[in-house]
């Protein structure tokens, strides 16, 4: 029997939860290994061996270790192509290219302003860090422009890369979840008709519900 893969990091981390969602979609058995970030465990030599930049998540599958959540998701989808959600990363190179397109758009355009907003509005207060009002305004402005592009795209397609749920949609789950549920800027998503419809569909998937449970 295969050893479960290991994911290092807390489930509440957006990058960690991205990997967890993917593993659950692909029916891959995994072990979540706690990393005590409050105690600086992620900056210690043992951890730096598997993630040299001292961030979460790190990932191990038997002999190899990987890091960077989207690279891990691509790997899991390729390695375990024939189990779980088989179309998650497409079934041919052209489908894959379209999924890569919106995975990249998530990383380059959606993630920076949404992560900044989520950190400032949901995490900073809890960590007793002073909020940066200028950054909040700037991020909201950027995110509004990005979401206008998404609204148009999701008016033409049920999901970002086409008719089916793929890694491209999955990659947006962690930040959007916090934006909608842990900040007062959820209406950025919910007031846009197509985005609201898409968010409703992807967030009600069993895989995402399981990840949210793990975050509690």
């Amino acid at each position: 029997m295969a050893t479960p893969v290991k994911v290092y990091g807390p489930a509440f981390s957006t990058a960690v939860s991205r990997v967890l969602a993917c593993l659950i979609e692909k029916d891959v058995e995994f072990q979540l290994v706690a990393v005590n970030m409050a105690k600086g465990e992620h900056k210690k030599p043992d951890y730096l061996k598997i993630q040299p930049f001292g961030q979460v998540p790190a990932f191990q599958d038997e002999s190899i270790s990987l890091f960077e959540s989207r690279a891990i998701c691509r790997y899991v989808s390729e390695k375990y192509a024939n189990q779980g959600n088989k179309g998650l990363y497409g079934t041919n190179p052209l489908e894959k290219a379209s999924i890569d397109q919106w995975l990249e758009a998530e990383g380059q355009n959606f993630s920076p302003p949404s992560s900044a907003l989520v950190f400032q509005l949901a995490f900073a207060p809890r960590m007793k860090i002073k909020q940066d009002e200028g950054l909040i305004r700037q991020s909201e402005e950027k995110l509004n422009k990005v979401l206008d592009v998404y609204e148009k795209r999701l008016g033409e397609n049920r999901y970002l890369a086409g008719d089916e749920f793929t890694l491209a949609d999955l990659s947006h789950l962690p930040n959007t979840h916090y934006l909608v549920n842990a900040t007062e800027r959820g209406e950025l998503v919910t007031s846009r008709e197509n985005l609201a419809r898409w968010w409703g569909e992807i967030s009600s998937r069993e895989s995402w519900k399981k990840v949210v449970d793990m975050q509690k």
């Binding site: 040299p52 990987l66 960077e68 790997y75 290219a97 890569d100 592009v149 148009k152």
Partner: protein, 215 residues
């Protein structure tokens, strides 16, 4: 009329990334210049091709892709032939290569672009360099290069034992950084220095450099 087109601006690092990938895979294409100064990339008809208003855009018949990293990944996976193979069939080896593509994006590119902005583009546009920013960003880049030095002690190329997109994706930023005082950060680290020399001397990259210098 060419079936394959690349729309972009030759000195933009993102366009250079896509050009490198096209030349490495020996693909014929037509290069269509986009006038960034005139703001053509923020208007129609360009926005229909690239909804976030960015260059480059790759078109092959009905296939239209924006974002240079997407174009690079697609070219390496779709237009394969044994002579120009730059991906791994084995998922574990490909997983490692894919990790280092994201490392460039998240760790190398941020300090690299800020340094290039301060040391190359600001002087070009008659603006003063902010030395404090340069110091901060050089320190960040130095830390990233320490990780690279360690990685390259165990691996001939960043992504594995052969040249892949993980290495290619660094070339545009390297082109500019090597023309600034930040070059010393690369020269000070033997493995990094050797790796830079190797990847920058590839014939396909020389073609990109020629296009940039002709402009």
């Amino acid at each position: 009329m060419a079936a394959r087109k690349l729309y972009g601006s030759v000195e933009s690092t993102t366009t250079m990334r896509a050009l490198a990938s096209l030349f490495e895979h020996e693909l014929k294409f037509e290069f269509v210049r986009v006038d960034l100064n005139a703001g053509d990339h923020k208007k129609e008809p360009f926005l229909t091709l690239s909804p976030f208003g960015t260059v480059p855009v790759f078109q092959d018949g009905d296939l239209i892709l924006f974002e240079s990293t997407t174009i690079m990944r697609c070219i390496s996976h779709v237009y394969t032939n044994p002579r120009t193979e730059q991906v791994y069939v084995d998922p574990k080896m490909q997983g490692i290569a894919a990790t280092w593509i994201d490392v460039e994006d998240h760790h190398f590119n941020p300090p690299a672009s800020k340094l290039i902005s301060e040391l190359v583009f600001k002087p070009k546009n008659g603006l003063p360099t902010d030395e404090a920013t340069v110091a901060v960003e050089e320190a960040k880049l130095a830390k990233v290069l320490d990780v690279y030095e360690e990685r390259l002690a165990n691996s001939e190329y960043l992504g594995g034992d052969k040249f892949t997109s993980a290495d290619l994706t660094h070339l545009p930023n390297l082109y500019y950084l090597m023309r600034t005082p930040a070059k010393r950060l690369f020269d000070e680290r033997p493995k990094v220095r050797a790796w830079c020399a190797a990847i920058m001397s590839r014939p396909a990259w020389a073609k990109v450099v020629e296009m940039v210098m002709e402009k």
